[in-house]
């Protein structure tokens, strides 16, 4: 559905990604990592300085008009709706622009407005809507022509929890019908809930593209295990643990899940003692970003230090 081959533009540097049809891909990375630039390149709003892009088999910057019939977009910094017009007036205009069949339009408008919660706002001018209300309408507007590809930049910014859940449900349903979605978000829980694949960008470089599990293993492999034991404390010196602290009968272990598994640790512990309580914490997706930022700061600090010397 989308192919990036060694694409460079602004901060993006030689990014190569292939997004197959029907996937929901979360673009993550710290602010300024190049996420919005990626989306703008994918829809042709920007032209790559280097490399090649194919979106739905077309070159987006050159064949934008052919491309946009099957494309739904929502950018944080680009107004979508006519402020002076009513909500339903905006949708009627979209119906004409995309030449949507009246019955199908009525059915989809009813469904989207009901599920995203803007059914009571239909006759209100867009300028009178709050940020969250406008966002719901904008999401509906991006979906009304049933695009095959959806590019969303921070789609849930300003949405309340109900609207977020409705949005997730809609995207999941449309995915089953073949919709491909690429979205950016700083809400890692959202990415976890919604995305089948994750692309991690760091300062314009494409660090990783794959499943959530794999990304966590690669960038934050450190799991932690809290154990409360009955009887003597186990001897775990043979295990490649990163950190090991003891507080009375409680143990706190940090370990690299690429080197040792939780099962191996537990097996060794139960051979020596009885486990009363056990808690394992796997890293969250947010830890990836935090870790990348920390590494970044550390690198910058060491560079500063070297420069001063």
């Amino acid at each position: 559905m989308i192919i990036f081959e060694n694409v460079s533009k602004f901060i993006l540097n030689s990014v190569s990604i292939h997004v197959p049809q029907g996937e929901t891909v979360g673009l993550i990375g710290a602010s300024g990592a190049g996420k919005t630039t990626f989306l703008k390149l994918a829809c042709g709003l920007l032209k790559p300085s280097n490399g090649r892009i194919y979106t739905m088999g077309l070159k987006p910057a050159l064949e934008q008009k052919e491309l946009c019939r099957g494309l739904g977009v929502l950018f944080a910094d680009i107004p979508v709706l006519q402020k002076e017009d009513t909500v339903v007036g905006n949708f009627e205009l979209l119906r004409s622009i995309y030449q949507i069949n009246k019955d199908r339009f009525d059915q989809d408008y009813h469904e989207l407005s009901d599920r995203l919660g803007f059914v009571l706002l239909s006759d209100r001018p867009v300028r009178d809507l709050s940020l969250g209300q406008r966002r719901r309408v904008e999401i509906g507007a991006a979906l009304i022509h049933r695009p095959g590809l959806l590019l969303l930049d921070e789609p849930t910014a300003g949405l309340d929890e109900n609207a977020k859940q409705a949005f997730y449900e809609l995207i999941r349903e449309r995915r089953r019908e073949g919709l491909t979605t690429i979205l950016t978000s700083h809400d890692m829980e959202e990415i976890s809930k919604l995305c089948s694949r994750i692309a991690l960008l760091d300062q314009g470089k494409h660090l990783y593209y794959g499943t959530e599990e794999q990304i966590k293993k690669r960038f934050t492999p450190m799991d932690t295990m809290q154990l409360e034991v009955e009887g003597r404390l186990p001897d775990l010196e043979d295990l490649p643990l990163v950190r090991y602290t003891v507080d009375e009968n409680r143990l706190s272990l940090s370990y690299d899940s690429n080197c040792v598994t939780a099962a191996e640790i537990v097996k060794l512990v139960v051979q020596q003692t009885v486990i009363k309580k056990m808690k394992i914490r796997k890293p969250e997706l947010a830890d990836v970003i935090v870790r990348l930022k920390t590494n970044d700061k550390a690198e910058n600090l060491s560079v500063d230090h070297e420069e001063r010397e």
């Binding site: 703008k40 042709g44 920007l46 946009c68 494309l71 977009v73 007036g89 622009i97 030449q99």
Partner: protein, 264 residues
């Protein structure tokens, strides 16, 4: 049907105008006032004479009543494209499966149709009843007048389009739009019929697009041009439309490229 979205744009702008009734009545009043002021000025300048240099007072009245009426019809929003460039929504327009220039034209035509029905015709009726104008020269000339009027609108629209396209490089096009309005007001024959211009200015103006906006249709209405001259004038109107449209498109494409390459 590929024209369907453009009909929708025109309809939307037509209906949008009808929502502002007070604004609409004030516009009729404004046009009528302008016509009466000019009529008063020309009455004073004529000082009771029936004609000056072969131009009768009725011809002058007809000229400014038609010009000002058409000016009310020919309103083009010079800030349509600039406002979209400045708030960033132009990017969204590029992602629609319709031509943005087509949309601009359709919305302006919707406006113009509204103005013809609810602005031009009432103002014309009031002016005809109170001041009086020359009747059309013939049915044939009336058809030619209508055709030339549409082309005149085309000339005005393309000038506005080219000015608006400058917004890709400017943070404000007010000065450019004002300069354009001043040039059109003075050199298109709206305020001063071009018969009263010095000969050299009149000749010089013929190589500019301005007389082809209002003055050519008015001349046709008054029967001052033969059918051959009408054909020539209409051809010149078409040439100006093409030339200025090409210039505007060049600027628009360059501006679009600037957005795509530089990101803003």
């Amino acid at each position: 049907m590929f024209l369907k979205p453009y009909f929708a744009f025109a309809k939307k702008s037509f209906l949008g105008r009808s929502a502002y009734r007070f604004d609409h009545f004030m516009s009729i009043l404004n046009t009528c006032l302008q016509i009466f002021i000019f009529w008063g000025i020309y009455q004073a300048l004529y000082g009771g004479r029936s004609e000056v240099d072969g131009i009768t007072m009725t011809m002058v009245s007809t000229s400014f009543i038609l010009s000002m009426g058409l000016k009310a019809v020919f309103y083009v929003d010079d800030y349509f494209l600039p406002s979209k460039v400045w708030d960033g929504s132009i990017a969204n327009e590029f992602l629609r499966p319709v031509s943005f220039r087509g949309r601009m034209l359709a919305e302006n035509i919707g406006n113009a149709i509204f103005n013809v029905i609810f602005h031009f015709l009432p103002a014309l009726l009031i002016s005809v009843l109170l001041i009086g104008i020359c009747p059309p020269e013939s049915a044939g000339m009336t058809v030619c007048f209508l055709f030339s009027t549409i082309l005149g609108y085309g000339v005005l629209w393309t000038i506005s389009f080219a000015v608006q396209a400058a917004a890709f490089w400017a943070i404000n096009i007010w000065s450019l739009a004002t300069l354009k309005d001043v040039l059109i007001n003075i050199f298109s024959g709206t305020m001063i019929p071009l018969w009263f211009m010095p000969e050299w200015i009149y000749e010089a103006l013929k190589i500019t697009p301005f007389p082809y906006i209002y003055f050519t249709p008015v001349q046709i209405y008054l029967g001052q041009l033969s059918y051959t001259e009408i054909a020539q004038q209409c051809m010149l109107q078409l040439i100006w439309i093409l030339l200025i449209y090409l210039l505007g498109t060049l600027l628009f494409k360059k501006g679009q490229k600037k957005l795509v390459v530089q990101g803003g």
